[in-house]
Symmetry: C2
Subunit: 245 residues, 2 copies
């Protein structure tokens, strides 16, 4: 059990990054990953809203993609209010925090930027959709408030650890970086094979594919196996084509 | 089941009142009671931070005492991080929200002002101490964040209502106003009887007494009965004194 990482996808205001760090550290979260923050990092606007959280333990790191920010994580939860039409498990903050606590490895909790939330392609590669039981007539949480709601779930999960901490009988879950590379490998080969047609539907087809594959909760061994399968198919197709020529 | 009221005890900044209202309405809470707000009410500083919560459903009312603000409530939860040395049940936000949902009548969730939190005499009259599982090395939630943590618990409690809503078999719980008057009646008579001695310990003695009495979860009938008992004791003592004279 490692405390989850908080991933902010293209956050805009430094103030909100600071307030998110404050919310995190109140409940013992310290791993903050910023994916392409609009105003760069470090950002002086973050400091006053952080209440000293960066000095007291929160470590913020910047990444240029979700893939890069996912290195070392074994399960990804995408926080979203809008339904996405993707078939994925949906959890509330407490269930997600409880599961993250019992996970082998480290979970990542992904939040979208202030204005547009998470892009579909980010949700597509998440294992779980994390939603909050908000009032449908007034769903108006800001970024730091959304982080706080998960963080308090984590605090509650840790408080109850002694009582409820049951280790799940899963193998070594794959590193998210390896998993992303597996999906990309798959898509590159599908592209070469002319699978993505017509072109305007490529993004949607990829998202649906990723959403389906990701549900498998891949172990390290399974990722290696699947990559071997892709490679074999791609090479086999090449061979077949050579034969036909 | 009525959605709980949020009571802010001597809040200072209008911004925080507005942000608290926003946090409330996200999870369906609309009854906001302001006890002696420092800058009065209405306060124009509240509006920008409310994200429209006052127009969309939150009703804020001002009271000049905790007693007045407690009218119509049947159970009071005091949110506090510091231990108070009072023997009271202690709950986390989810347990409190679940209980509030199943309560006959309406719960009140009491939060202290920005700088000093709740005074001891306010905690003393609460039924339950509500604490959050915060990081002891960085306990730094602002007022609106504290309200949000309870509010999300309420949202989760309502979401699960169909599954977990078990009505408790209690009688009609006393109105908090009646309960406060009962305690004051008791203290007035104790004062007259010279019970509070030495004078510098009066506040502490009252707090301890209130803390003990309040744990009884008084029903309406029991409050009437107890007031009758105080009256009888007081009049009896008067009679006895007359006789001794």
């Amino acid at each position: 059990m490692t405390a989850p990482a908080i991933l902010l996808h293209t956050p805009q205001l430094g103030e909100n990054i600071g307030a998110a760090a404050r919310a995190m550290l109140n409940f013992g979260l310290t791993d903050l990953r910023l994916i392409t923050p609009r105003d760069g990092w470090p950002n002086p606007a973050a400091e006053p809203m952080s209440a000293g959280a960066f000095e007291a333990g929160v470590e913020a790191r910047v990444f240029d993609s979700l893939e890069a920010a996912s290195e070392g994580l074994t399960r990804l939860y995408a926080t979203t209010a809008r339904p996405r039409g993707m078939e994925k498990p949906v959890m509330g903050p407490q269930a997600a925090a409880d599961e993250a606590r019992d996970l082998p490895g480290q979970a990542g909790i992904l939040f979208g930027g202030e204005h547009s939330g998470l892009p579909n392609e980010a949700v597509a590669v998440a294992d779980v959709i994390l939603t909050y039981p908000v009032n449908p007539a007034f769903a108006s949480l800001n970024l730091a408030q959304a982080v706080l709601v998960f963080a308090q779930g984590w605090g509650a999960a840790m408080e109850l650890e002694g009582r409820a901490g049951v280790q799940r009988g899963v193998g070594d879950l794959a590193d998210r970086g390896d998993l992303m590379r597996m999906l990309e490998h798959f898509e590159v080969e599908l592209e070469r094979a002319g699978y993505f047609f017509p072109p305007e539907k490529t993004a949607l087809m990829k998202d649906n594919l990723r959403a389906a594959l990701i549900r498998a909760n891949w172990t390290e061994q399974e990722v290696r196996t699947f990559r071997g399968a892709i490679k074999a198919l791609a090479e086999g197709r090449g061979k077949a084509r050579v034969k036909r020529d």
